[in-house]
Every structure is written in C-alpha cells, then in structure tokens.
Symmetry: C2
C-alpha cells in the first residue's frame, strides 16, 4: 500500500501499529552512528547492539567507546543476571588493568540541567508515575518535572547503565548492566544510563539467573563470555548489522504512538487509551534491502 | 532486632525494605490456599508456583484447578517465549482432548463490577499511567477509575493469564501465559488474568526466545516439557513448597511500601518518592523454620 492510499485509509479506519511501520517512508528512519554504537559478541553467534547515549552521558560514553575500540572488554564476561531486574557484564573481579592514564570510574551523569541544544522533544500525552512529564528526545526515553528544568533518561527494558558503588561519582565504565524486567524507574537519577540495546536483548534476558546475592553467578564457570565488544565503526562495512530506528521527530513516530496508544487490531476489546514511557521506545528494524 | 526496638528506630531513621521484612511479625504473612495454587514442574527440578486469582476469575480458575487436579496439563509444553512480553504454555497444537463435558474456553472475566465483598483495598499513593486509582486487593495488583466502579487485575511481571482468540469470550484454559518483561498494561481488560507466579518466574523468563511469529518456537523440539502441573493440595504435605506472601492488609505491608517508595539504603542518592503498581506486588518468602 502506498503512502497516499494509506492516508486515505487513515480517514476511514485508524491504522494498526504494523500498518504505520510498513508505510513509514525511508526518511523517517535513522541509522545509529557507527562510532557511537557497541557490538557485543557472545558465544554461538549471539550479538547485542547497543546505541550509546552520548549527549546524556558524554563522559561515560566517550570512555566506553574508547575502551571498546581498544578491545578492552574482549574476554570479560556476564557475571550477574538478577531476575526481573538487570543483566550485568564487564570486569566483575576488577582484575583487568586499565589503559595507561584511564580511570575506572566517571563522575555521575544522572541528569542534564536542560534539554540538549537542538534536540527534539516529543511529549507523551499520558500521566507518568514518577515524573510530571515524559517524552522522547531524539529517540531516548526521558522524564522531567518542568519544561525548563533537568531532564533524565528513564530505566526502561533494554536500557543500559553504568554500575556504581555507594558514592554517586563512582560510575563504572568497567561494569555495565541492561534492564531485563519491569522497568525499575526508582533507579532514575540514581545511576548513569549510557545507552539502549537496539537488538539482541533476548540474549541478555534469557540467560540463567545467578543464585548468589544480587543475582551474581555463584561460580565463574556459570558466566557467559564476551568474545568481543567493539564499535560498529570497527567492523568491516559488510559485517555491520544495518539497523534503523524510527525517528521520534518524524510524522511516522507520532502515528505509530497513536496506534500503540489506542489499539485497533481486531484482537483488542478495550483499546487502552494510554501509553507509558517504557512502551514508547521507538521501533528498530533491519534496513530493508534496496529494490532492484 | 525485636519489634519494639524496630519501632523506636523508625522514629530515628526510616527502615529499609530488608529491615521491614525482617521485622514483620508472623501474623502479617499468609499462606496461599493449597487448593488454589498450581505447582508446575519443569525438567531439571525447576518449579513454578502460581497462586490462582479465584475471586477475580472464578470460572477460569475453577476449571484450571480442576484440570490440574486431574493431571490434564501433564506432558504438555512451553511453546512460546516472546522477549519482553510473555511465556506461554499448554496445548499449543489443540490436540489433547478435554475431559468429558468440559469446554476449552471460558467467557471473559476481564474485570469485576466492584470490589469483592469483604476484600481489603490498599490504595497506592501515586499516579498511574492507565487508571485513576491503583492498589492492592488482598495481595492482587488492581486498577480502577472510580471507587464505586469496576476493578481489574493489572498485567504486571509474573502475572499469569488465559490466552484467547479474537473473540472476547474465548479465554483459554488450555493455554496460559506469564508476563516476562516490562508490564504490558495495554492488555488490562483485554484478557483474563488468572494468577500470579509466587516463585520460579526465573524459570519462565530465562528460556530461549522463540524465533517464529509472536515468539512461538519454530520447532516442537525447542519446547520445554511440563512434567506435571498439579495443585499444591495434591502434593504430599512434606513435598509442598511452604511459601508465604506478605498480607497487603497488614501494617508491615504499609511499612514495606513506604520503604520501597522512598529508598533509604545508602546506595540511593534520589529516594524516588513514588512507586508504581507493578513494583508494589507483595513480597514472597519461604516460611522460616520454627525456632527449636
């Protein structure tokens, strides 16, 4: 169905989520920057692709990108899987030396004082439990209490953060985690979020849970090896996963959100009429093959 | 620490979540009814314990209990694991005959017209995205828009529901699912919830994801066998898992919720000040051994 036909149909019957995505023009999708995207390779061909939130956590993400580019994470492991909470990986035993002159931790980047200059705010129409306003900022799930005040990333399923100790300024670039259960929004503004898994979350969420305290594995043998963690830019072009994210400043995102908020698929009896921030993260797809 | 000492300390410094639970008196815990609790046994000793929501879905739960007691689910399998959504089990191929005179489906039990008589409503203090009011009703996560109106169970992590086809009155007692990701609250009032997994959710959430449409396994060989699904009451007393759930009409639950809502553990910088329904499900424990 072409776009014109789709617009005509929209007047007749609201589109479903699948229909909106099928009709989204190529320009409504963006590709994550290869220098700001991690490719984490696990055994058996499993791969997790993580886009870094460079504007929300510039210090953490710059160092994480540098460490990945240097191959520093290669051969480390997933050491903690806490059911309905997080999967955590990196240098759990703190035994790997840092490159010359690099710290193991960064100061807190829990929130920004205001929206980044030039960013696009898509305000969600419904209430939020934790903040007065929620929205998408250039693809990222963000909360704030006032239009002119601080903004912070939200702990949604698939978001990736930097573990820390009890002091706020101990954000670890050596141990990262991803949210694998119901969104633990109580962590917002308590820990630095550094990215979002665009693909492969199932490989982090389907791992056996750890049985020691906090979901750590009781023995190192239970850990899952990180074969390599590299930047997308470090991979030969033909090996790069070619993902696209729906632009949250695009008309298609607004239509997708409307279709998610009020479900018109035949199955639904009660269309919902609301959507929460963690169900509003922009969809990701494999870039379609070019037509011959 | 005794209860009196705990109360004295509460005036000085707020208790943490762990402290509240440690001090909860025995009477603030309840045991799920053995005739209304499923024990689902998977290979390798994995076990999932599901309490049935008998007052919210009386028809579905009565038939599910009857089928479990008869061993009807034994040897069926988990056929669908959809990342960040649901794990589904039962008679996926609809090949197992029902006991004489029993239907495969039940009419919709999406909501009750009002709170069950004699039930206790614990109202949560914060906003909800989907409903005007949320609370706990005798341990169950419930939403409603008016004090005198309908009430419905919420799709939180670990809640168990009855799959259905496109017609509302096709609630399946032969195929059940559990929520394994961020709470899909858009399903509320669209499908009948029948229970909550009190223990063993990790065995449903850590399974490999299915790669066919909707997360179904592409081949039957990928399925996980249900060795047996029985009622707790069907097990010899000495084999019964002895779980207890914190009573949501108890003082300890109110204290636990306050401690979860504003976190006073040293780690937290920003205590949160809010809690959402799906993070408020009452804690479950193994009944402590009696003192000698």
């Amino acid at each position: 169905m072409g776009l014109a036909a789709g617009a005509a149909q929209a007047a007749a019957a609201p589109l479903t989520v699948a229909q909106v995505l099928a009709e989204a023009p190529a320009g409504d999708w963006r590709s994550p920057a290869p220098g700001q995207t991690l490719v984490m390779s696990l055994p058996d061909g499993r791969q997790v692709i993580i886009e870094l939130a460079t504007r929300f956590a510039p210090r953490h993400t710059a160092q994480i990108a540098q460490l990945a580019h240097a191959g520093w994470y290669d051969g480390l492991a997933i050491a903690r899987v806490n059911d309905n909470y997080v999967t955590q990986w990196g240098d759990a035993d703190a035994t790997r030396a840092m490159p010359e002159g690099q710290p193991r931790t960064q100061p807190a980047e829990f929130f920004l004082p205001a929206l980044p200059v030039g960013s696009h705010w898509f305000e969600l129409p419904d209430r939020d439990v934790f903040a007065r306003h929620t929205g998408l900022v250039d693809g990222w799930p963000v909360a704030r209490n006032a239009a002119a005040g601080p903004v912070w990333l939200a702990h949604c399923y698939g978001m990736v953060g930097a573990g820390r100790d009890n002091t706020a300024d101990s954000g670890s670039v050596t141990e990262l985690y991803a949210v694998i259960g119901h969104s633990p929004r109580q962590l917002d503004r308590n820990v630095t979020l550094v990215g979002r898994a665009l693909q492969g979350m199932e490989h982090l969420a389907a791992l056996p849970r750890g049985t020691a305290a906090m979901g750590f594995y009781a023995t190192p043998a239970e850990r899952t090896l990180l074969l390599t963690v590299r930047l997308l830019a470090d991979l030969p072009a033909e090996q790069r996963p070619d993902l696209q994210v729906l632009r949250t400043d695009s008309p298609s995102y607004a239509r997708w959100l409307a279709a998610k908020r009020n479900r018109h698929e035949d199955w639904f009896v009660e269309p919902g009429g609301h959507i929460d921030l963690c169900n509003a993260l922009p969809p990701v797809r494999q870039r379609p093959a070019a037509l011959p």
